[in-house]
């Protein structure tokens, strides 16, 4: 695993989880005495936004929500993708063909728009953000897992387990899943940046996470609206977002190259 991206991710996660309780300001507390102060102001090391909310507290809170959504949505996609791919690969034949056809067809759909529709129509709950994004991002996982299962099921230890009469569920759980784990984790790590990007995209448009919660997408939007007078309000959340995306992509790619 590449060392620098791993350290960056650990630092960002640790900061998002551990630092906010130590700060004097919460992410939505308004300091009327310090509206839109520049970085380096007393009490607000990174300044405040246009209504006097501490930018450091907001950036960390936003990072936390973004990571939470990403982890939850990626888990949803992992579960669906692995189950779908494992069943298709293991059962094979007509079922496999039908299931993979469905995956092909879904690949061609403008899914982002379906997610946007879901968000708009069914209230913008954060739970729906998880499920909606997870339900969109499982396709690649399903393809990869199916390929692995197809290769694994011809391996001698699997054939031996079948020959001694092990039930299919036991074979899948005991013999296939442990061998899939490496590839699945690699693709999980590659799914997370995708999910982060979708969540931020939706939040940027005002369709994802809603106030008083905040996320990196919302902060980038607020920063972009305010960038002519306070460029750091855009650079800080944008920088964190890019650092997360780049680091996870690099880690995921190196794991993928090792396992696949």
């Amino acid at each position: 695993m590449p060392r620098v991206p791993a350290i960056v991710i650990v630092l960002i996660v640790a900061a998002a989880l551990l630092v906010p309780p130590l700060l004097p300001w919460s992410h939505d507390a308004i300091d009327w005495n310090a509206v839109r102060v520049p970085p380096g102001s007393p009490g607000h090391p990174l300044g405040t936004d246009a209504v006097g909310r501490d930018l450091l507290a907001r950036a960390l809170a936003g990072t936390r929500i973004t990571l939470l959504v990403a982890a939850a949505a990626a888990t949803v996609s992992l579960v669906i993708g692995v189950a779908w791919g494992a069943v298709a690969g293991w059962r094979g034949g007509k079922l496999d063909e039908a299931m993979m056809r469905i995956v092909d067809a879904l690949y061609a759909l403008p899914f982002m728009f379906v997610v946007i529709l879901l968000m708009v129509l069914f209230g913008r709950s954060i739970l729906l953000v998880f499920i909606g994004i997870g339900a969109v991002e499982w396709l690649t996982m399903a393809r990869v897992v199916r390929g692995q299962v197809l290769a694994l099921r011809e391996r001698p230890f699997v054939l031996a387990a079948e020959a001694v009469g092990a039930p299919p569920a036991a074979i899948v759980l005991r013999h296939l899943l442990p061998n899939l784990a490496g590839v699945a984790i690699a693709y999980l790590l590659l799914t997370i940046p995708q999910v982060v990007m979708i969540e931020s995209f939706l939040s940027f448009l005002g369709l994802g996470v809603q106030e008083p919660l905040t996320s990196l997408g919302i902060l980038v939007k607020e920063g972009a609206d305010d960038m002519d007078v306070a460029p750091h309000a855009l650079l800080l959340p944008g920088g964190i977002l890019v650092a997360i995306l780049v680091s996870l992509t690099l880690i995921g790619e190196s794991l993928r190259d090792r396992f696949a």
Partner: protein, 320 residues
């Protein structure tokens, strides 16, 4: 560029059969998208005439009747599809006095210009970077370029857009940062670049990987053995088959362009389709949203079709 056999040799029967077959699978997909979106919008709570003030029941009933919203769901769907088949997207419920066709014909040229230019830029830069990296395979240029391309793929357009606007618009003052300017090229530079950059990274990586595979093949070894100049081997013998993975990316690229354009149009205040989509969704303007989704789906399916055709041109073995 994608249809040279149509220009030079006439469309072969084989290709025509392939196109027809693809169209027959694309149409049901399109229909499924339209029906799915239609049903989703109808079952969701809230309607286009919900407002701050309560409308009296008689008016509400009259509005519902006028727009056919009082009919059973399947009847509404059937009416919609029948009109759609005639190219009529229906009236906009929120922008009164405008049909969806009016709005779409206003927005589509802007979005197509933006998306088309971004795609061309991304293809040129991406394939160029892939070729350059492959010609220095294993060297420092190769590694640095591919690292830079990985960084590009991880940069979302909604971060790149505002950053470019900040640097080249507000700080340097070289380029305008918002508006269409009646199609003035200067207004297009920043949006097109912001939309193209993330895709450039993906295309470059695919092209580089394709070139690595292509360069390992026997006919390349033969060409090398016969002493052909490396540039000629790369461009004449390796590039075409190496572009197959790039072609397969065209479908997802179209989807990425359309979603990216929604954000870029918002950031740079361009009057494209994306703005209508977001506004329409927020206002529950059913016909407008359905119209835009249908159009987007059709464009994505069209790009998938183009990708299939491009395979055949790039690698004749796939044609069968």
């Amino acid at each position: 560029m994608l249809l040279p056999w149509g220009l030079f040799g006439g469309i072969r029967l084989l290709m025509r059969a392939l196109i027809l077959r693809r169209l027959f699978t694309a149409l049901p997909t399109l229909l499924a998208v339209v029906v799915l979106s239609f049903v989703l919008m109808k079952v969701a709570p809230g309607g286009p005439f919900d407002g701050e003030r309560a409308i009296d029941p008689a008016t509400q009933a009259a509005l519902a009747r006028a727009y056919g919203l009082d009919l059973p769901l399947h009847e509404q769907l059937w009416r919609y599809l029948a009109r759609l088949a005639h190219g009529d997207f229906g009236p906009s419920l929120v922008y009164r006095d405008f049909t969806v066709t009016d709005l779409v014909t206003q927005g589509l040229p802007v979005s197509l210009t933006l998306g088309g230019l971004a795609l061309v830029l991304a293809l040129v830069l991406g394939i160029g970077a892939g070729l350059w990296a492959a010609s220095r395979a294993g060297g420092i240029v190769d590694e640095a370029l591919m690292m830079a391309m990985t960084l590009l793929t991880a940069l979302p357009s909604f971060v790149v857009g505002p950053l470019l606007a900040l640097m080249f618009g507000l700080w340097a003052g070289w380029l305008p940062v918002s508006g269409w300017g009646g199609g003035d090229p200067a207004h297009l530079v920043l949006p097109v670049v912001a939309l193209a950059l993330p895709m450039t990274g993906a295309i470059a990586k695919l092209a580089r990987a394709g070139l690595a595979t292509a360069l390992a093949q026997d006919h390349i070894r033969t060409a090398r053995a016969r002493g052909l100049p490396p540039a000629r081997i790369l461009l004449r013998h390796a590039l075409r088959p190496a572009l197959v993975p790039v072609a397969s990316y065209l479908g997802p690229a179209a989807a990425g362009l359309l979603t990216g354009a929604v954000v870029i149009e918002t950031v740079f205040a361009l009057p494209g389709l994306g703005g209508y989509f977001v506004q329409g969704a927020l206002n529950r303007d059913y016909p407008l949203v359905l119209g835009v989704v249908t159009l987007y789906a059709a464009l994505i399916l069209l790009f998938n079709l183009l990708a299939d055709l491009a395979y055949g041109w790039l690698d004749p073995r796939i044609r069968g």
